[in-house]
């Protein structure tokens, strides 16, 4: 052993690896290393659930690619690999239908056909040979694409990410604003509870009650193989879901108000679309297209959303039954999430409602999916009470957007604490913090990673390059491919080298949607 005057890196303890499987007890709860440990654990979940082109939401319960999951996953994945985040969105939009719809599931042909119900055999749909479902999920993708671009503009430009994804995002939004404007009032309708993202929410009980369930003997659920029945939808509800999807399929996935047994104008979908149009305006400016139509569309959507779905007396948005025209007056988290829309005129009132008894935003965490004081609130049942990290992240984003930085920072800290204590669960009891559903859930990990990489006080409007620790960017090319000089390595003959112009890693103006 010799002494080193510079450093002695080899005196450190031997390498002790950590495994991909994440024992919750292994996460330290306090101390300076706690955030770093949580950051690594979040990345291990994303690495484990990566399938080479996309991320599965959970290895067993959800073994394919889900549409809005991929949007949230990309928002976190950009901190692990900006290129991988781009691929996540590209692989989803690679299965986009010719009519512009982005299917809610893109099936992995390598996964056994019966691993998930309803599977490819049920939907009988495909996009150029790739099996997909035929319904959609909330349009979080434009926002995700913009945030992904902002993580590393140079790498995105080198791959032509935005020029390729922009027309697909436009087609996706056009599908929603045309084919899915079932009542002609400018708002998008969802035609299946699964399209809301808040699948089993009490918000859908009333319109769903009109649907005749398919008898349980006619299908086999697979979700109960992996989760407790007490936390999942009932067989009757599942029978209704199957009926709606089967009718849609048998109608050739045609959209018309009379053709859909269930049609609801949903605040979350329309809010994400409005926020997405703001993102498309920013993307359009980046790719040299005209941002003005997107800004107009965002303004129009914001106006319609507020005029039609906002209830001033209740201080929240309600979904609207497209068949009856009646507001569905249940308090679900979706009614607060228009907070993600820039320039929303009723943001202050929404935050007041969020802080009130129904959602207790200052302490309940993640924010409950459904009214805490409703008699049918159930803190463990799928979308009927527990809190999800993605809706928490959207509220955090919206709070920053509308100037409530202090509350946003508090929510950020509490979301991180919840996951640190309970693991990367699918959802949580908002009051006790007990985790439920599947473990190692991808968007929980992804959005935790995004929150960790967004320091308190900064918020999403300053996201982007800053979200990648300042100036770290992937070089778009090797900047010294300038001369033909032999290499000096041992193992091969020198090769002639093609000269390529150095591409400077240019930055981008620090502008976010809505600013």
């Amino acid at each position: 052993m010799t002494t080193s005057t510079r450093r002695s890196p080899l005196t450190a303890p031997p390498f002790t690896p950590t495994t991909a499987a994440l024992p919750t007890a292994a996460l330290s709860h306090t101390g300076r290393g706690a955030d770093a440990e949580l950051d690594r654990a979040a990345r291990r979940v994303l690495l484990t659930n990566w399938r080479g082109h996309a991320t599965v939401p959970a290895a067993r319960l959800y073994p394919h690619q889900w549409s809005w999951d991929s949007a949230f996953v990309a928002i976190g994945l950009r901190h692990l690999s900006p290129i991988r985040a781009q691929r996540e969105l590209e692989s989803l939009f690679g299965a986009q239908w010719p009519d512009g719809r982005v299917p809610h599931i893109v099936f992995d042909p390598h996964v056994p056909a019966d691993a998930y119900f309803p599977g490819p055999a049920f939907w009988q749909a495909d996009s150029q040979g790739t099996p997909t479902s035929g319904i959609v999920q909330p349009p979080a993708h434009a926002l995700a694409a913009w945030l992904t671009f902002r993580a590393d503009p140079a790498a995105a430009r080198a791959r032509g990410f935005l020029p390729r994804i922009y027309p697909r995002l436009v087609a996706w939004h056009r599908y929603l604003t045309t084919r899915r404007d079932l009542t002609g009032n400018g708002l998008v309708s969802i035609v299946h509870p699964w399209e809301s993202g808040l699948d089993n929410s009490p918000a859908w009980d009333l319109p769903l009650a009109r649907v005749t369930p398919v008898p349980t003997g006619e299908f086999t659920r697979r979700d109960l193989d992996h989760a407790a029945a007490s936390e999942r939808p009932t067989d009757t509800d599942y029978g209704r879901y199957v009926r709606l999807a089967r009718d849609y399929r048998d109608a050739g996935y045609a959209d018309s108000l009379s053709g859909h047994g269930f049609a609801v104008e949903d605040p979350l979908c329309n809010a994400l679309l409005a926020a997405g149009e703001h993102a498309l305006a920013a993307i359009a400016a980046e790719v040299g297209a005209d941002p003005a139509p997107h800004r107009s569309s965002a303004e129009r959507l914001t106006q319609d959303l507020t005029d039609v779905l906002y209830d001033r007396g209740s201080g929240t948005f309600f979904p609207r039954d497209a068949h009856t025209g009646a507001l569905l007056r249940t308090y679900s988290i979706g009614g607060l999430l228009p907070l993600i829309v820039p320039d929303l005129p009723v943001a202050g009132a929404l935050i007041e409602t969020a802080l009130g008894d129904r959602f207790r935003l200052a302490e309940a965490c993640p924010p409950p999916s459904y009214d805490l004081i409703a008699v049918d609130h159930d803190p463990v049942k799928y979308w009927r009470g527990p809190g999800w990290i993605n809706t928490g992240w959207l509220l955090w984003y919206g709070l920053h957007l509308h100037g409530s930085a202090e509350l946003a920072d508090s929510l950020r800290r509490r979301l991180l604490d919840r996951v640190r204590r309970s693991g990367f669960r699918e959802y949580f009891d908002p009051l006790t913090g007990i985790g439920h559903g599947t473990d190692d859930f991808s968007w929980t990990a992804a959005l935790v990673l995004d929150l960790l990489r967004t320091p308190p006080g900064t918020g999403p409007t300053s996201l982007g390059a800053a979200g990648l620790s300042g100036s770290r960017r992937i070089s778009s090319g090797w900047s010294s491919r300038l001369s033909r000089r032999p290499g000096v390595s041992r193992d091969d003959q020198p090769e002639s080298t093609a000269t390529a112009p150095a591409r400077p890693g240019t930055g981008t103006p620090d502008v976010a949607p809505g600013t």
Binding site: T2, S4, T5, A12, F15, H79, S475, R481, S489, D491
Partner: protein, 272 residues
């Protein structure tokens, strides 16, 4: 924080001290040595000891011979094992506890993808030879307080150990903690379905990492996703070295000097 070493032949300078000065200025943290056969590495001991005394950090050595411990010829096999044992002893002395000696099973001896396609030894016989060699080398490494890192090579350079899981299986069969896997990003790019998934799966056995890009040139010259690779190494808790072993595109000194900056720019790990 990643620790980056550069193989000595890539660095300009006549002596290890001169090479180290260049490496230090460029942002490298150490030098990976190269060991030729005929005990040439042992014969360098006076030079290596002097460099170590002067603060040159030499955490690892990479074998640089024409035959390897998986050779078909028993005499060449015997010689390769003797050479490697000597290299382990030397690197343990000048590199300190935990220093690494690197070797593939073989290199350039046979490829199942090139004529005549069928090797003169069966897979079962290969396995016996590899397990015997690894056991002897692992025991010697343990005695010296060093690590022997087994490097899977791509299918055109070796026919026996191409992927991390194959190396892990052999190491498990021997059962010595002094045996680890060397993950080389260039070979992984060819052989692994998904290099980052392979690293996660091999985390418990990972002992050393060599870096070059998809085209064997310096990191940044090809199309590897360095952010994903480096983030994965950090996420699995790897705190060993990244040793640069590559060809160089462009003016050599400029190309070498650019590597630490490139890797650190793509190291999007959580700040320490």
């Amino acid at each position: 924080m990643i620790k980056i070493a550069c193989q000595e032949q890539l660095l300009p300078g006549r002596t290890l001290q001169e090479k180290d000065a260049f490496a230090h200025d460029a942002g490298f943290d150490g030098i990976e040595l190269r060991a030729k056969g005929d005990h040439a590495f042992r014969d360098r001991l006076p030079e290596l000891r002097q460099a170590a005394r002067e603060g040159v950090v030499m955490p690892s050595v990479c074998v640089d011979m024409a035959h390897f411990f998986g050779a078909f010829d028993p005499k060449l096999r015997r010689d390769a094992i003797d050479q490697l044992k000597s290299q382990l002893s030397v690197i343990a002395e000048v590199g300190g506890p935990g220093a690494v000696a690197c070797t593939p099973a073989s290199w350039g001896m046979f490829s199942r993808r090139l004529p005549p396609f069928e090797p003169p030894r069966s897979e079962e016989e290969d396995r016996v030879v590899l397990l015997e060699g690894l056991a002897e080398l692992g025991e010697h490494a343990a005695r010296e307080g060093a690590i022997l890192a087994l490097e899977p090579l791509n299918r055109y350079e070796d026919h026996m150990v191409n992927r991390l899981d194959q190396a892990a299986e052999l190491i498990d069969a021997v059962g010595l903690p002094s045996l680890r896997i060397l993950a080389d990003t260039y070979h992984m790019n060819i052989e692994e379905d998904e290099p980052t998934s392979a690293l996660v799966a091999a985390a418990a056995h990972l002992g050393h990492v060599q870096v070059s890009d998809s085209n064997r040139f310096q990191p940044g010259a090809g199309h590897l996703d360095w952010a994903a690779l480096l983030s994965t190494l950090d996420a699995i808790g790897y705190d060993g070295w990244l040793a640069v072993e590559c060809r160089l595109r462009g003016e050599p000194a400029t190309a070498v000097a650019s590597i630490p900056g490139f890797l650190r720019r793509n190291d999007v790990c959580v700040p320490a």
